[in-house]
């Protein structure tokens, strides 16, 4: 009986956030859930993945339908939900569909933001816990290692996670295309807002050397500056500071533009035309649009940044097609590996039989071999073993080669009958007595 690989789960597409919240337990609960999984008699091996966007059970079982019911109950128990509610918004995949699903999840093709990099780390953590709790076995181990491999291939062979899909990442990316490196560059934050601070934070993480914060209310500027280890300024100092800085992030609530065309123009010569990059997150805008027409000055407002992101999302979708092809390839490889598993019991049985014959024959010849030294006895045994190995080598290779082919099962059947591997205990004795 061949075990099925099954994946049962809910994700951001099938289940609303409220339901996912119910299911997502605290960090300590994973251990408990894995324990429950291990205790299920119908589940051979398995693992459990829980992130803010998905909950997945991946397991193998000989009794598929029984195991599925058990897992669904286990899952419903997590969130104290009705089974009916859960089964309407969960999915259940079997064998290669499940393999494909796991590969897609690992390479972030199934994520809400396609190409986001966190999911791989989360899966690795989930797998680590499964190995610690010893719920994973041959198939899950292999499957997870292949999944990591697929994710790595997708990352390196496609541009799926190459481009920014958030405003602050897009700003950092643009800044790098203008300044090449952000090291040694200075940044001025005018006004404060959550998004502006996030963009500033990203820029600082990418090597910005110093930062100043200006605000209409000086206290607020001091407040924000303290959080970044920056210098606080009053609004009147902007003109002087604009000569020094390279990147300006604006997000004031002012109705009129704070950065006017003339203001920037007169600073350019004193700046010796060093490039100046305005990131204008404010609505209404803080930087006059025609500032962008000045040489070596670049202005991106929130709509422009959104435009860049939309473009990148499009690009990711195109890259995702490439990634799907990689996944398909790897699913095929995995299925081939899985098929070779089906010949493993027959090969083992062949080897066991050969071993049994060797032992029986040695026992029979015990009297004749009595006068041999210990070393000579060993040599005889080695000789017998290597003869058996050589004889079995070709049939084993042949069976491995036929694994997964259409006629593979027929060959297995023939092999078992040819070598009489499925005899019962009684026949076994008979076989031995026949020989005498």
């Amino acid at each position: 009986m061949k075990a099925k690989i099954i994946d049962i789960g809910v994700n951001h597409e099938t289940a609303p956030v409220e339901l996912r919240e119910c299911l997502a337990g605290d960090t300590g609960s994973t251990k408990r859930i894995l324990g429950a999984l291990r205790d299920l008699p119908c589940v051979r091996e398995g693992m459990f993945l829980s992130t803010c966007n998905r909950i997945e059970f991946l397991f193998t079982s000989d009794q598929a339908s029984e195991a599925k019911q058990a897992i669904l109950s286990l899952m419903a128990g997590l969130g104290e939900l009705q089974r009916g509610v859960l089964s309407s918004c969960s999915y259940s995949l079997e064998d290669m569909d499940a393999v494909k699903h796991i590969f897609r999840v690992a390479s972030s093709l199934d994520s809400m933001v396609v190409g986001e990099p966190q999911i791989l780390g989360q899966i690795k953590e989930a797998y680590k816990q499964a190995t610690q709790e010893k719920t994973s076995g041959v198939i899950v181990n292999r499957l997870m290692h292949r999944a990591f491999h697929v994710a790595k291939r997708v990352r390196s062979e496609t541009g799926i996670s190459a481009s920014a899909v958030s405003v602050s990442y897009a700003a950092v990316e643009l800044a790098k295309k203008i300044f090449h490196s952000l090291e040694g560059k200075n940044i001025l934050l005018i006004g404060a807002g959550e998004m502006a601070e996030l963009a500033a934070r990203h820029l600082v993480n990418n090597g910005i050397s110093s930062m100043r914060v200006a605000n209409r209310t000086f206290e607020r500027a001091v407040d924000v500056a303290a959080r970044f280890g920056a210098k606080a300024l009053s609004f009147d100092e902007i003109d002087r500071e604009i000569l020094e800085v390279d990147i300006v992030i604006c997000s004031t609530a002012a109705a009129e533009p704070v950065i006017t065309f003339d203001r920037v123009k007169k600073s350019l010569r004193k700046r010796r035309n060093r490039p100046l990059f305005f990131i204008d997150i404010a609505v209404p805008r803080d930087v006059e649009p025609k500032v962008n027409n000045l040489a070596n000055v670049y202005v991106y407002d929130i709509d422009d940044l959104q435009g860049v992101i939309a473009l990148n999302v499009e690009q990711r979708k195109r890259e995702a097609l490439k990634a799907e092809r990689i996944v398909q390839e790897e699913v095929l490889k995995f299925s081939q590996w899985l098929n070779t598993l089906s010949v493993v019991p027959t090969i083992l049985a062949l080897q066991e039989k050969a071993d049994a014959i060797i032992q029986a024959e040695l026992r029979k010849s015990n009297n004749l071999l009595q006068h041999l030294t210990h070393g000579q006895k060993e040599a005889v045994e080695v000789l017998a073993r290597s003869i058996a190995e050589k004889v079995l080598n070709d049939p084993i290779l042949f069976l491995k080669g036929k694994a997964g082919r259409a006629a593979g099962d027929t060959y297995l059947d023939v092999a078992r009958r040819l070598f009489n591997l499925d005899r019962n205990q009684g026949e076994k004795n008979g076989f031995e007595s026949d020989d005498q």
Partner: protein
């Protein structure tokens, strides 16, 4: 005649150009590495060709437009290879290699005019003159290429239309500094080339300066580059304006190189330099 070496160089240049274009489209790292090696191999063959020509002619092989173009291409590739060590910008090759290959193709398409060289050309001053001038030209070719790349990239960023070239081209700062370095290195070569040229004219023709059209145009080119360098170093020109200016300068340089040599009569023109000399 060492035509086989020239053909080998041409073939490798074309191969490298193809590779670099494939790299521009496909963005596979190994393609650019392979193209770089091929271009280097082409450069080695080209060097062998030039050395042998030098040995045969007894002077720098630049006496007709055909061989000047090939020498120009060699200088451009030399400068690119040196710049590659400093900047390591693979995509620069996608623009430089086609340019060099283009010059090589024109050169190969022109008739070979072999013949005895007039003794006045067998002067060390001529060799120094043309080598420095051409190295300067090679460096200015790099400023030209970097300026074009800069304008392409700047256009995309300014207009907020980030097309497929956006991710392929290097940052504006990098392109501007390539332009800057190539200009700073190229200008002394040009200056030195003009000084040694005038010394050579004194030695060979008995006069430092004759108001020959090519001399005049060279001076115009020099003045333009001097102006660009001045603006860059003192006023702090950079970016778009510097890029546009270096394109203009290079066009004048090309005119001086080709136009003033072919269409304008003067002792510098290739027809009067021609085999055996008229």
């Amino acid at each position: 005649m060492h035509y086989p070496w020239f053909l080998l160089a041409l073939f490798f240049d074309l191969l490298a150009t193809g590779g670099y274009i494939v790299y521009l489209i496909k963005q596979e790292k190994w393609v650019s590495r392979a193209s770089f090696l091929i271009l280097t191999a082409g450069f080695v063959f080209h060097t062998i060709f030039l050395c042998r020509q030098y040995a045969v002619l007894g002077t720098a092989p630049v006496l007709d437009l055909q061989s000047s173009l090939s020498f120009f291409a060699w200088c451009i590739v030399l400068v690119f290879l040196v710049f590659h060590l400093k900047f390591r910008i693979m995509v620069l090759g996608s623009f430089v290699a086609p340019f060099a290959a283009f010059l090589m193709i024109i050169s190969s398409a022109m008739p070979w005019t072999a013949g005895p060289v007039r003794p006045i050309f067998k002067s060390i001053w001529l060799t120094v003159h043309v080598t420095t001038i051409f190295l300067g030209n090679g460096l200015f070719a790099i400023t030209f290429v970097a300026a074009i790349m800069y304008l392409l990239q700047e256009r995309q960023i300014k207009q907020k239309h980030l097309g497929s070239l956006y991710s392929r081209l290097p940052s504006l700062a990098t392109l501007d500094s390539i332009n800057h370095y190539a200009l700073i290195c190229g200008f002394p070569f040009l200056t030195l080339g003009m000084i040694t040229g005038s010394i050579y004219a004194q030695v060979a023709l008995g006069s430092y300066w004759q108001w020959d059209p090519k001399e005049v145009w060279s001076l115009v080119t020099w003045l333009f580059y001097a102006a660009l360098l001045h603006e860059r170093l003192t006023v702090g020109w950079r970016g778009r304006r510097a890029a546009v200016m270096s394109i203009v300068c290079f066009c004048i340089l090309l005119f001086t190189f080709v136009g003033a040599s072919l269409w304008v009569k003067g002792y510098h023109s290739f027809t009067s330099l021609g085999a055996g000399g008229a």
